[in-house]
Amino acid sequence: MSILLDASTRLLIQGITGKEGLRSLEWVTAYGTKVVAGVTPGKGGQEVDGIPVYNSVDEAVAAHPEINASSIYAPPRFVRAAALEAIAADVPLIHIIGEEVPVKDTVDILHAAQKKGVRIVGPASIGLISPGKSKIGSIGGDDNQQFAPGNVAIISKSGGMSSEIALLLKAHGYGQSTVIGIGGNQLIGTTYADVVDDLENDDDTAAVIIIGEIGGLYEELLAEKLATLPNHKPYIAFISGRFAETLPQGMSFGHAGAIVDKHIGTRIGKIEQLQAVGAHIAENPSAIVKILDEIGIPKE
């Protein structure tokens, strides 16, 4: 098993005729994901790589009622409209890759999604992958060699670091059940805490790696969530931001959400709260593997 996506995923790509959308189509299809339709306003009736393109999500869903996920590759200024369309059409899982989505637009998207019970991953999410089964987005590119099927989940604000950590795990014999780039923006649809229940219920996940950083409260909210589950699975967290915290108050570094604040979302605050609920803290990425070895997570 895996969480959020598996062999039953039937994907719609919004912005499928754009350069990035086309590339994602090629990559996810090559990995085995079933893309059933695409949307680009004004390009309905065309086909790309044999996939039909529609003018709207409604049209696509009417023709392909099996659609259960959408990946949005629209330019940042059109992401709000694209996402609201998919939410209105009750697509239950929506991935947003765009990084530069205005915060106000993000709030609108998250609010509409919440009312409909739709899950948003992103904005600024590189994508999600269930190694060996399926993937959405641009995660892994056309390569995918850094990922291998296994029992460790990786949930990361950074897309690049999700690949880095997967590569590190693979080199030491650990595969992944699910890898999710949740995005490094200030407001995001799926936080660490939002996937805890799914991960607890996933038989294939034996341990969870959290790649976090300064800014905001998503790591703290994870700690609050874990506090309600006394027997939760092992969590290993790596939190960066030592250098960023030497920068002036209010500056963001690396990601839009990595905002330097002396009091809210500090690196130490996150580490202490996660430690208090039994999470293991990795001082650097290499330590993640040592911790997995120590707690005896079986290798594939």
Binding site: P102, K104, S163, E164, Q186, E213, L221, R242, G254, H255
Partner: protein, 402 residues
């Protein structure tokens, strides 16, 4: 982008939020005393009072001493008294002050109104909204706004909230908001604009360059922004910070750069800059940015650090970097053996690495080349050794000359 106080107040004025009259604005030397007033240095960091940048003046004598303190305080903050604006504002007598802000909150993932009837002194020292009344703005269209204060009317607050969204702010803080004849007046204003919404606000292009560091933006910081703006393909130079160290840095990937810079802190190597490129920029764009990095005086090494790229062309981007190393070498800004530590992987990596090795020989630089199998954090030790070797060689050759 953070606004200067006077820029923030102009937005308030545009939305009919009352502010004190601005009597004049300009460099400290151009100002003169006309009436009792407040003098406020226009800088982007907090605690301006402590920094000696806010003064109440009731007389000509007050004014003279205030302007002297202002000039001195600016110089202490590495800011030029000739180029920093001072605003002179009318004095507003008041007794009652409150704190009012709107910002985005990651706990509720909503915009929230923050309010304190006790005013906002020491607000920066409070943890997550402690002591503040917090009101999430749930459904923007339908939210019934709270009654915060007898003198803050529903219409006034609605207008204030509408302004926050219409102007695509991420922070709007009035500290203090005071009342004169029961009417709210914003004595100070701190606004952060959402850079990603710039496409909706062509007027933002008129804001002058700025930095949150307690100094002016450097030539290189401004040049890097221009490099990024001139070519829309990929991002290169949107973030550029200059530091007093000796190692140039070109990073790729948000998470990788956070991690790399943390690792650098464990060494005695100090960065000359931090900048980044991503999203498959052209060779020319990376070259232009790298030229800026390499233009720094007294560089003792270059660190090109990034994760395993999904779609950035490693050949094109690394060639852009080496183009700048080549011109630094040709103009004698770097000596033979100049260390260049590269850690990167992704499309066209093998081709890129082969060409890098070839060019390193031609340029006579000390190239240390690693792919994604080598941990990012381990490259700092390589960098440290390489820089020390270059420094040692410099000392040796110095001895030879004398």
């Amino acid at each position: 982008m953070r606004l200067y106080e006077y820029e923030a107040k102009h937005i308030l004025e545009k939305h009919d939020v009352a502010i004190p009259n601005e009597l004049s604005r300009g460099p400290v030397a151009q100002l003169s005393f006309e009436q009792p007033a407040v003098l406020k240095g226009q800088v982007l960091f907090g605690n301006r009072k402590q920094a000696g940048l806010i003064h109440l003046v009731h007389s000509e004598t007050d004014f003279t001493s205030a302007t002297q303190t202002l000039a001195k305080s600016l110089q202490e903050q590495s800011l030029s008294p000739e180029r920093t604006d001072i605003v002179i504002e009318e004095l507003i007598p008041y007794t009652d002050e409150v704190y009012l802000a709107i910002r985005y909150d990651t706990r509720t993932r909503l915009p929230v109104i923050l309010f304190s009837a006790d005013g906002g002194s020491g607000i920066e020292e409070r943890s997550e909204h402690a002591g503040l009344q917090t009101y999430p703005l749930q459904d923007l269209a339908k939210t019934k706004l709270p009654q915060l204060h007898p003198h803050i009317s529903a219409e006034w607050l609605q207008n204030f909230v509408d302004m926050f969204f219409a102007e695509d702010m991420t922070l709007m803080e009035i500290n203090p908001l005071v009342f004169v004849e029961n009417q709210p007046i914003a004595l100070d204003a701190k606004i952060e604009l959402d850079d990603t919404a710039a496409f909706r606000h062509p007027e933002w292009e008129n804001y002058p360059p700025r930095t949150l560091f307690e100094r002016e933006p450097t030539e290189r910081e401004q040049a890097a922004k221009r490099v990024n703006a001139l070519d829309h393909r990929g991002v290169a130079g949107a973030a550029y910070f200059e530091f007093p160290g000796t190692v140039g840095i070109l990073a790729s990937g948000g998470g990788a750069s956070l991690l790399a810079m943390d690792a650098l802190l464990t060494t005695d190597i100090r960065p000359a800059n931090y900048t980044e490129y991503s999203g498959n920029p052209t060779r020319e764009k990376v070259h232009a940015l790298s030229e800026i990095v390499m233009s720094q005086e007294g560089l003792e090494g270059l660190w090109v650090i990034g994760g395993h790229a999904n779609f950035t062309d490693i050949y094109e981007t690394l060639m852009g970097v080496l183009d700048a190393v080549e011109s630094a070498s040709e103009t004698g800004r770097i000596r033979p053996g100049f260390p260049v530590v590269i850690r990167r992987g992704g499309p066209r990596q093998e081709e890129a690495f082969a060409e890098c090795k070839k060019r390193a020989q031609q340029l006579n630089i000390a190239l240390h080349l690693y792919d994604s199998s080598f941990p990012i954090t381990d490259t700092v030790a390589v960098l440290e050794d390489a820089v020390h070797a270059y420094q040692k060689h410099s000392e040796d050759s110095h001895v030879d000359l004398t």
